[in-house]
């Protein structure tokens, strides 16, 4: 089965809010994945949350088409599925970026500047909490206490935990990624040339 390539999205701009919608091609792939996941579960209301979790684990978020498909398969109103997806903080309705920044807003982090770290990311990425940059490289979220309060304020960069994050460190983190992307693009260019 084809993987979900993240670049297939159409970006619709509503003022400064971006809504990311899958393309037709993407929709088909999503539905295929969802059908496969549904195959592993009994169509029982009790399994609804685990199913949604599986879909999100696989696709990175809960696309609208996926939720509709699940509702039909389980024979429940689509609004029930949407209701759950919006009630629980874990579920995201927009696809995540290639890299995720999760800023800890737990008590210990907040008291020593978690919000300052959050503001720095917002300022540098020009997006809000819970959003993804239009080029889909980065997304920004808040978490509460990841259990590393002794190195507060903490930011989880993909799966790595960064401690004592100051605005300068935020710049450093972003710079490191830009470098990496730059290198990747360079490599691609080189390979292309070598291939010729």
């Amino acid at each position: 089965m084809q993987g979900v390539t993240k670049r297939h999205y159409v970006i619709i701009s509503k003022g400064d809010v971006f809504v990311l919608k899958p393309s037709e091609n993407e929709k088909e792939i999503i539905i295929e994945h969802v059908a496969e996941i549904l195959g592993g579960w009994r169509a029982d209301r009790e399994n609804l949350i685990p199913i949604l979790q599986d879909v999100q684990d696989r696709l990175g978020y809960l696309p609208g088409v996926a939720m509709e498909k699940i509702a039909t398969a389980m024979d429940i109103p689509a609004v029930d599925v949407f209701g759950l997806a919006t009630f629980y903080n874990q579920f995201r309705l927009n696809p995540p970026g290639d890299h995720q920044f999760k800023v800890c807003m737990g008590t210990a982090c907040y008291m020593v500047g978690g919000n300052i770290a959050m503001d720095s990311f917002k300022r540098r990425l020009s997006i809000g909490e819970g959003d993804t940059t239009p080029d889909r490289k980065f997304s920004l979220e808040r978490v509460v206490c990841v259990g590393c309060c002794s190195i507060a304020p903490v930011v989880v960069v993909d799966d790595m935990i960064e401690g004592k994050v100051t605005p300068t460190r935020v710049d450093g983190i972003l710079l490191a990624f830009e470098d990496k992307h730059q290198k990747k693009d360079d490599n691609k260019g080189n390979q292309g040339q070598e291939g010729v």
Partner: protein
């Protein structure tokens, strides 16, 4: 069931485990703490460095991963046990130290005492935990093995008497087990302190053969992490407690409700359950008895309110996690409408020790009404942050100053926030309150989840009250009007206060009135306790509120709208550019005369320049209210 079969079964497990671990006593073993806190500090690199060094020198030594020892301030932590030496613990280990330890200690028998923190067994050479104030107060029941066993190997647990309590229970009648738990007066550690025995009894008495037992590992307090740490460091302890509860009330199915933000805890639990099944400790005819029981994991989806019992059940049934009216209690009608026992991670974790050593032993620790120990995650402005376990009845002062080693850097203590979003802030004058369910309640706080944040003079009490209220307001499920709208209204007022937009002291009365209404008009404890952080801060720190409202001043210099950054010209060195370079918005600039200054319109108050300014100058200062800057600048001219 014939006791001989079960005792024989257990003896088999134990001797196998002992046998397997025997070689570890005969060669050097290096234990690296790789719970989340250790990993964040670089424990994986340390582990790899040890492996590499040992391999390159061809040494016969073992590198093991363990969970969290609770000394998070000193991560990455490593314990080295080498035959002939007491096991020694080293803190802040890096790759350089790894090289030295391997070279000097493993190869040459020099334990590098100058780097060692503490010895873990009594000896004549090096101080042990009990020689430190923290060790003198700490008494570990449920954290005892955390950090000293491999959580991914059940034999480590079994070798330390693990599952002995289960073996004992299976030879007892369920009524006898119940009596023991009741006699111990074990109180629930999920917050409210409800006696576990009474809950177990109610479940046992409820009619019906289908019953459920559930571990509440939703840990919603945004500043607490002990439940996760226990699951990551010693999952079998909780599993054993859960199996015992199931046997007692007559249940054949149990669940762990774990928040999905805890992937490592979930992974380790899965491994632990698998290994318990392989050993015949879960599944059909456990340990050869006729008792059948198995456990599943349910991943919670990140809603604070789901920690509440009825909401938790709703979410397990695939519905929105919204609390319900009680009665009926869960003990009568819980998961799938059947009798259900719900206890916190820590509550279950006490059970094996109580069974092994008896109710009287348990009651010999703590106070008469709150026996046993209390576990806290000690964080904030404190020297020794981490997980601590102290007997109930220890005072807050002992916890902050002896166990936590007080406030770092000549700062002044201001308050402890205890109990998370439902708890309160207690000032210096309340420091002699003993820690137990009832005394804390009287002081206006609660035991709650065990989050304990220590605040100093740089922390603003209005801001922290606002922080917790914002949390509960966001997490309110919206069912009760007072909780939904009342908290919003309170939050608006607090936000205005922290921004200096509140003109009238009467707003404090409105806050108090709203708090009363929310308490009366909310169904569950999320709403009922949401105003606590606000009420306690008003009660103990009224002056700080007044300063914000009357003088538009934040005495702790924390509320960004009420402060401004200023570079004192008499202190600025001119020659250094640290502040200019650190500014993310180019607000700091060099004046014509070489002194640095801040363009207030560009400043985002990120604190960077203040941190960057070398301590010998300390030229960057915060002023509140912000208008003071204008005055200062005028004076200068």
């Amino acid at each position: 069931m014939s006791a001989i079969v079960i005792e024989g079964y257990y003896a088999g497990l134990k001797s196998k485990a002992d046998h397997k671990l025997l070689p570890l006593k005969e060669k050097p073993v290096i234990w690296v703490g790789t719970a989340t806190c250790g990993k964040a500090a670089g424990a994986i690199e340390v582990r790899e460095a040890f492996k590499k060094e040992i391999k390159s020198r061809g040494l016969d030594a073992e590198v093991m991963e363990v969970g969290c020892m609770g000394h998070c301030y000193a991560e990455p932590l490593t314990v080295i046990s080498k035959p002939g030496f007491p096991p020694l613990c080293y803190g802040h280990v890096d790759e350089g130290l790894v090289k030295r330890l391997v070279e000097d200690f493993l190869v040459n028998d020099d334990p590098c005492y100058e780097y060692a923190m503490v010895a873990l067994e009594p000896n004549d050479i090096f101080p042990t935990l009990t020689d430190f104030p923290r060790g003198a107060y700490e008494e570990k029941i449920i954290l005892e093995d955390c950090g000293f066993i491999d959580p991914e190997d059940i034999d480590h647990y079994i070798a330390r008497e693990g599952y002995a309590a289960l073996a004992k229970v299976l030879t007892m009648k369920p009524e006898e087990v119940l009596e023991e738990i009741k006699a111990s007066n074990l109180r629930g550690r999920g917050g409210a302190g409800f006696p576990a025995g009474i809950k177990w009894e109610a479940c046992r008495k409820s009619p019906g053969s289908e019953k459920y037992v559930i571990v509440n590992a939703d840990e919603g307090d945004p500043g607490a992490f002990m439940d996760r740490s226990i699951l990551e460091s010693n999952p079998h302890l909780v599993i054993e407690g859960l199996i015992i509860s199931a046997y007692t009330i007559g249940s054949s199915r149990g669940y762990f409700y774990v928040r999905s933000e805890y992937p490592q805890a979930i992974r380790r639990l899965e491994t632990a359950l698998e290994q318990a099944r392989e050993k015949g400790l879960l599944g059909n005819s456990i340990m050869g008895s006729d008792f059948n029981f198995d456990i599943e994991i349910f991943r919670g989806s990140g809603a604070f309110v789901c920690g509440e019992g009825t909401a938790l059940i709703n979410s397990m049934e695939g519905k929105m996690g919204i609390p319900e009216h009680r009665p009926p209690r869960l003990a009568e009608s819980g998961f799938r409408g059947k009798p259900t026992l719900l206890n916190n991670v820590k509550t279950f974790a006490y059970v094996p020790a109580i069974i092994r050593k008896g109710a009287d032993w348990f009651k010999s620790t703590g106070t008469s009404k709150s026996p046993g120990t209390a576990v806290f995650s000690l964080v904030g402005k404190v020297g020794n942050s981490g997980l601590v376990e102290v007997p109930m009845g220890t005072t807050l002062r002992q916890l902050v100053y002896d166990v936590g080693e007080g406030i770092p850097g000549e700062k002044k203590f201001k308050a402890v926030q205890i109990g998370g979003p439902s708890g309160g802030c207690l000032p210096e004058s309340a420091l002699d309150v003993p820690i137990d369910f009832d005394s804390l309640h009287e002081a206006g706080a609660i035991m709650g989840s065990g989050g304990l944040v220590i605040l100093d003079e740089d922390d603003c009490m209005v801001a922290i009250a606002r922080y917790f209220l914002e949390f509960t307001q966001k997490e309110s499920c919206g069912k009760c009007t007072f909780c939904r709208l009342g908290t919003k209204h309170m939050l608006d007022i607090l936000t205005r206060i922290t921004k200096g937009q509140e003109e009238d002291l009467a707003s404090l009365d409105i806050l108090r009135e709203l708090a009363e209404d929310i308490e009366a008009g909310s169904l569950c404890n999320l709403g009922k306790t949401a105003p606590n952080p606000v009420l306690t801060t008003i009660r103990y720190f009224l002056d700080e509120y007044k300063e914000h409202i009357v003088n538009k001043r934040c005495p702790a210099l924390m509320c960004t709208d009420l402060i401004a950054f200023y570079i004192a010209p008499e202190k600025c060195s001119k020659l250094c550019n640290a502040c200019v370079g650190s500014c993310p918005t180019e607000a700091v600039y060099t004046r014509e005369d070489g002194l640095k200054a801040i363009n207030q319109d560009k400043c985002v108050k990120c604190n960077n320049c203040l941190k960057a300014c070398p301590t010998e100058y300390s030229a960057v200062i915060k002023l509140s209210p912000p208008e003071l800057v204008v005055e200062k600048e005028r004076e200068q001219k």
